[in-house]
Symmetry: D2
Subunit: 348 residues, 4 copies
């Protein structure tokens, strides 16, 4: 690719510290299937963020796998998931949850976030016992598919609603890093551990080669969880590869440093674009930016940068999506900013 890509947050390999750790440990023999020293170390490091409690943690290669394993492990076959209609499991996982036998009850939302009222509504309209699947698990993601983030008050409210209705709260953290280091964030990993039953921490979009850490604060749900990891194809022989990467990510705050960089680049772009006289179709909450630009400018930008044209705004304008990451090159950000500014001057 000769253009610089703002398409996603997984276009590069991994943070160099991870490569170095792989090289350092490469020929050390380790026990297989997640019983290696590095996985143990990674678990310990993550638990420190959760208040030091001994909380079950498992590592798997990818996010869809994490969602499959969690759902099929904790639900009986008549139990259903409640999710926003924009949820990753609803529209970006090829029916993976349904393929394990479970219905997803979808709720339309404005900004990708579920509210307690959405849950109450879903419960009310799915109460015709036993003709309807029984809602049992609430799925949210933070950041959401559209880059919005939950506040502590919002998550507390959701947690209360779930507990009151005997629902499990599961948080998909594919982009948890950018959520926790966003400007508007007031949540910590510890909060999330206290407010959810299961959540997972995304490595892939935060600087690892691959890998997500499934954390199960509601310990009863961890019972025989390993069987499900193996049954769904998620048990890597060389679990060390996952453990070592998370060890690096949670040593000296690398995880937060990397996702803070993604957010900083997103903010720099947002501010500059606004200053240049353009509006954003949605406020920038994490590492996704949705500028509304003239189609003529978009066409020129496409020659140098990769990004998605998100939706048509009017005859002459469209919304584009720019994604920043742990690897985003600030020079390319500056270049994009000046191209946007220059375009203006040239037009006028």
């Amino acid at each position: 690719m000769c253009k610089y890509s703002f398409l996603d947050d997984y276009s590069e390999g991994c943070h160099p510290r991870i490569l170095a750790a792989l090289a350092d440990t490469n020929l050390v023999q380790q026990t297989a299937y997640g019983n290696d020293d590095y996985s143990a170390q990674a678990r310990k490091l993550i638990c420190e963020h959760l208040g030091g409690k001994d909380i079950p943690i498992y590592f798997v290669a990818g996010g869809t796998l994490a969602n499959i394993i969690i759902t099929s492990s904790v639900l009986r076959s008549h139990e259903a998931v409640i999710a926003a209609s924009t949820g990753h499991i609803v529209v970006r996982e090829t029916g993976a949850i349904e393929a394990t036998g479970h219905k997803i009850i979808t709720v339309a939302t404005e900004n990708g976030k579920l509210a307690s009222s959405d849950i109450e509504a879903a419960l009310a309209s799915n109460a015709h016992y036993p003709h309807m699947a029984k809602p049992r698990l609430v799925y949210i993601s933070n950041a959401t598919e559209v880059g919005t983030i939950y506040t502590k008050a919002e998550l507390q409210e959701l947690s209360k609603t779930c507990k009151r209705n005997d629902l499990l709260l599961v948080l998909d953290g594919a982009r948890l890093g950018v959520a926790l280091t966003a400007n508007g964030n007031d949540l910590t990993l510890k909060d999330i551990g206290e407010l959810t039953d299961i959540f997972w921490i995304g490595g892939t979009k935060a600087g690892t080669l691959m890998g997500e850490a499934i954390v199960i604060p509601n310990k009863s749900l961890a019972e025989e969880f390993d069987f499900h990891i193996k049954q769904r194809g998620g048990l890597l022989a060389k679990g060390r590869l996952l453990g070592l990467q998370f060890t690096e990510l949670f040593t000296a705050g690398l995880f937060f440093e990397l996702t803070r960089h993604a957010n900083a680049m997103a903010e720099k772009l947002s501010v500059a674009i606004t200053k240049s006289g353009y509006v954003l179709a949605a406020p920038t909450e994490s590492n996704q930016i949705f500028p509304l630009l003239p189609n003529t400018m978009i066409k020129i930008l496409q020659g140098k940068y990769g990004f998605y044209v998100w939706e048509k705004a009017d005859e002459n304008h469209s919304v584009i999506r720019l994604v920043t990451s742990w690897a985003t090159n600030e020079k390319q950000v500056d270049s994009l900013i000046s191209d946007i500014k220059d375009w203006i001057h040239f037009q006028e």
Copy 2:
């Protein structure tokens, strides 16, 4: 139950002719698993309505079973169903389709009927290959969950849209009888055979003890269909019970006679209720009637009749649902009509 029930169309046993046939044939030995003479005879009788063609037909005990078997037989695991958000498989089958591994893509509709534009919209918003389940089967029911029926033009249009987009069209006919004998109907069984890939004819709501006939005009879809009937628990040892009932239903037009009675009773009620000065929340298309009545009247009627209070209209009025059937006693209809009239006189 001391009240007379207008709750549903399956509160009684079966048409007496069916009981008589059961008694007549009871001790005749027959081959098991649907290979009996009566099932053969029923297939022949139904095929006569389909233009005399030799079309594969299978009998199963219930409607959810029919939908499960059809879906799991014809779809690969990555393929999804498109259905109205009010569809029976969506809201009244406890996630049965998802339990076989398939996603249902739901479309909001006004009157329970899918239009070609709904299908096109569902295709457009589920095209992100391979991150989205692939739409492959369109599920409709006639009559729909809310009692509306498809016209021939509508079904032709749907059929064309499906063919154009390589989609299978499946029609759930739990209440096909009342649809085909409704006042507004211009479809025949033959039309339905020509316009759908698979459809099923509901016996349970048309005067049998139980049983539905799955018809597969798109013969390639019948390949190894028996395996799926058996695998999903639908292969009755005494298949004769299903075959014999459908033989009776399709002898001398009993099926149409019985569902015509249901419609006639519905119309009688509709006309009388309207004449008495009340409005219907929806036009009566088949055997479901939705009168909007004063709550005070509803309370009195509930003392003598069984029916569902469907939804609140305003502080003092609600919509109720009355269902008529092959077994509806005209005297009880007359009684209900006069109770509604009397109540009026008394109030004035």
Copy 3:
């Protein structure tokens, strides 16, 4: 069929008392989905046999459906079933259990019966956590696929082994009637209720049109069981049809009277065949008889009777299988006996 069939125990309709009851109650309106008076009555009658305790009972149309619902309701997805390699769920249900996602661990047995040592062996060879599915449910049937029956001592031993190993014991009673009225039987329904977690009583092979009663003595397993009945397509709208038949079957001991007849006919055949100088390939324990006969005789018998040629014994002899039932006509039994005798005389 002009031949008289000894092929199976489901070639006829149902016991006349059931038809009479259907006629008597036909137009009485009843609540749907198993909440009718007859189902309540049948539950009460069956519970009386279980020591008067209030034990959850559900009715479904067929045996495969019963096995599907039980398994998918009580197991988590990583849990497996232990069964004899001749078990009905293993070789006669088209992979129905696997289709709900569960592995069956099979054990070779001599006579279709599982012993405690079989279970212990299966546990030992499936203990590689978490690389192997976890054994959790032991499936047996009584009578077995090959007509053998469990003694009380055997079932007690199995029950103890299951409890000690945290395994659920499920008994498929498709032919429970002939087992409980067999000569060698010392079990009662009450014993079975005390020794198993779930069992079901077969109606289809004991004189009903269809229907099996699922009994759940381990009440915790009945929690939300209805959802699974509905999800797997087993919830008949006119549940009355099932309830009424079981009411008849358990009124005045009809169930036991009918299956006793089947056993008596089997014994009569066994004794006569042995007296005529032929051997049985297996002792007759219930309603299946396996005579070893000359092929020349078999050929002649096939002209008048329907039965399966079970296996080749040597060049000139084969084992055939004769099945008797509640409906077996004693005159036909006598005729068959005399044909066997006559053939002897004629040959000599």
Copy 4:
């Protein structure tokens, strides 16, 4: 681990060339989801071994995932797999295949290898249409679970039997490398491509961090295969990680060089052990060695080396399993050999 491990072939990281390639390409931006340059290059390199034909190839993280995706993609729900009772999918994948809804029909074998007669027998005993799941896919692995390998003649015979019976032949190649470089081998990758419908090449046990390459010579089976990879959680965002590793493995014959080393170490051990006067419980065909040793010696060896005690031979002897790999240190092999020799001298 202070002991040197002969436990398995996945105790180390990866071949250093792979680490170097990861470092070299780390910050190059690449398209996600397997559409990167490295995956394209790896496909090209593998195809060169398949006779230059353009054969569909997909990369996934692990072997169980590969088996899940293949099976659920190519089978309809009533179709079953035939496998040796020692097969990995039978006893080491926690019921993963069954969890996708498919039955496995197992066949007892002596040495882990399926023969045509096994397949014919499985077909014959599963032919009771439609009461039995329909055999449709034959699963073998090369090398097998117990280290044996298929000859070309054997694979040709299997292939013919499968074609004649309309069965798909799938080869699990978790240890394909050691099979293809074994002394007794006469198969090439090209042969395997011609004789199977789908096979996969294991990277994990041949020197990668993780990853297996699914090759689909029967191209019709590749249709919409991507959906299944995604649906089962196998589509890595950074597919580059898989592509790059297979590019290295298939550049300059690294794959064969590494697995040849594993075999050479196994042979060295086998020869030395035999020379020292001990027998092998099974001939060494690839990288697994099964020496029968005195328990007293085993106890001493366990102090320095990791390995499994496979089974008891008699009161004083047991069979142990030693596994060699691409990473096996020859010095440790020599050390083990001399420890075995020394023990002898000391004892005598």
